[in-house]
Structures are given as C-alpha cells and as structure tokens.
Amino acid sequence: MSQIALTCGFILILAGLYGALTNRDILRMIVAFTVANTGVNIVLVAVGYLPGRTAPILDSAVPVAEAAQRIIDPVPQALVLTAIVIGLGITALMLAYAYRLFRLRHSLDISNFTELKW
C-alpha cells in the first residue's frame, strides 16, 4: 500500500522534474514543478501511514488511552501541510516572476533569458 503511494510519489517527482527540465516554456516549467511538489507531498504522507490504523484524532472512536495503538503517525501530516503551503507560496512567486519576465521580453522561453553567463 504505502509502497505504491511512495512509488507514485516518486514517479510524479521524476515526471515533474523531466517536464521542468525539458520544457522551455516558463509556464510549463512552473506547472511541472507543481506536479513534482505534489509527488513530494504524496511521499510525505505515505511515509506517515501505518497499515490498519486511523486518523490521528482523539474522539469517541479513539480514546486517549489506546491512541498510541490506533492512530497513524501525525507528524508527516503536520509536515505535509507546511510543505504544501510553502510549495504554493513558491509557485505563486514563480508565476509573478513569469509575468515580470514576459513584460521584460514579451517571451516566455527560458532560453531567451541568458545574458547573464560565464
């Protein structure tokens, strides 16, 4: 189960990276990165998963006493939330940059922005 999730996550990461590294269109790159981020997030939650357990919320179903036996690992869930938000922030930032770049040169081709080199 978690193997599958992991594998999916990794595949998404690789696919995203491939897209980001082969598409010269900046918008496509950004999209590709979001895909990769999604992959990362999947990997995160997948790691926290324990077979046959429930969400880390203490209610009538999960009394405090046996919580340790009943719930899955809450930490990755906490982490993934942060990761998502940060990823979103960066994506938004990249979009803004993309707009700025377009204004600069009326092109979204990454290979047109290479005057800084050597």
Binding site: M1, S2, Q3, L6, T7, F10, I13, L14, L17, Y18, L21, T22, V47, Y49, L50, P51, A55, P56, I57, L58, D59, V64, A67, A68, I71, D73, P74, V75, Q77, A78, L79, L81, T82, V85, I86, G89, I90, A92, L93, L95, A96, Y97, Y99, R100, R103
Partner: protein, 233 residues
Amino acid sequence: MIPKVLISVLLLLLGYAFWTLSVGYAPDTELNRTAAYYAANAESEVGAPNIVTGIIVTWRGLDTLGEVTVLFLTSAIIALVLSQSGGPSGVSGADFLPSGELLTTGARMLVPLIVLFGAYVIMNGHLTPGGGFQGGAILASGVLMALLAEPTRRFGHTAILRIESLSGSFYVLIGLAGMAIAGGFLDNGILPLGQFGTMLSAGAIPLISVLIGLKVGAEFSSILQSLHETEDA
C-alpha cells in the same frame, strides 16, 4: 534532442536512488517515539483532540509561524514584482466582458456560505480535521469567487493589509506571551486548556487558529488580487 536524452539519463539515475528508497521502505508497525509521545500527551499538554493541529500550532509552532511568514513574504514580494513590472495600472480590466449571470448570482449566493464554512473550519481546527490554513484557504476561495464574478471589483488593499498585519503581529505577541507566562515561545498554555474536546479548549489554539486563518485568508486574497490586477487584454 540530446539534452532530453541527457536529462532522462540523469533522472533515471535519480529514479534509481528513489527506487532503492522505496524498496528499502518498510512501514512502521509501532508509532515511533515522537509520534507516540504526541499520541500520549495530546490531551494533557495541548488539549487538542486533533493531534495534527496540536502539532502544527503548538509543538511545531515555529514551523507554522514560518509558514505564515512564507505566505506573507510571497504576497509582499508579488506586490513588489508587479508594482515594478510597469504593467497596466490597477484600474485595468474595466473593459472586461461581464461574467455570466449565472456566476454572478451563484457568487452572491455562495460567497457568504463559503466564508461561513471557512470560519467553521478555522474554529474547529483543534477538534476536527481542519484549522487555520484550511479555513484561510477557504476564505480566500470566497474572495477568488467574488473576483471572478465581478472582475472590475476591487477590495480595499489597506483593509487586507491591516488584517494581515494585525493578525501577524498578534500571532507573534501570543508567542511571546507564551514565553512570558507559559512554558516557552508559542506555548498554547497561556490560556487554560479547558474541557478536552470542547469548542473553547486547548488553550490558545483556537485563538491562534483564528489569527492564522485571518492571516492566510488575507495573504491569499492579496496574492489573488495582485495577480488579478496584472490581467490585461
């Protein structure tokens, strides 16, 4: 073509690394010590049934503060980027086609509900799945809808600004208060933990959630608005 091949080779090698990770991966049968501690002390320490929220707001509160800051940064920088970019001034989009009747009416009907729902998610963050971020996002989606419904509509930048500043500052202050009168920076113990599982419990968590929710909502809204203003024909 060559670069594509090269990239693929590189990624394949990286994939090999990942593959070894995932084949080597064996899910825990027991909670590791950290998780076990959280499970055991969720009630006594933070008094939040939703352990995840407890972790986010309290135990890993510093991360969360940073997270909020990320959004804050992003909105600030985006404002910078777009203000510099010499794009059309804010009053653009006046010549947009009016969005359809359906959307407008729907928006009029839905936005209040969305906002309400957002508020709910925020308030119950420590009891049920949800919390400041989720709620804030929902609030922002309300704003987004409003923007879509009426492209020419503008929210008061200053209002959003005030909200994010105030909520942010308060968040920091609460953190400091934790240092002053409780166990440390961002300790939620500044308020009584109260009755486990009730609405007004878990110390400062609900309060912090509200602040987070407001801030996140405000940040998202300003981001959306800034991006929205960049639209031009």
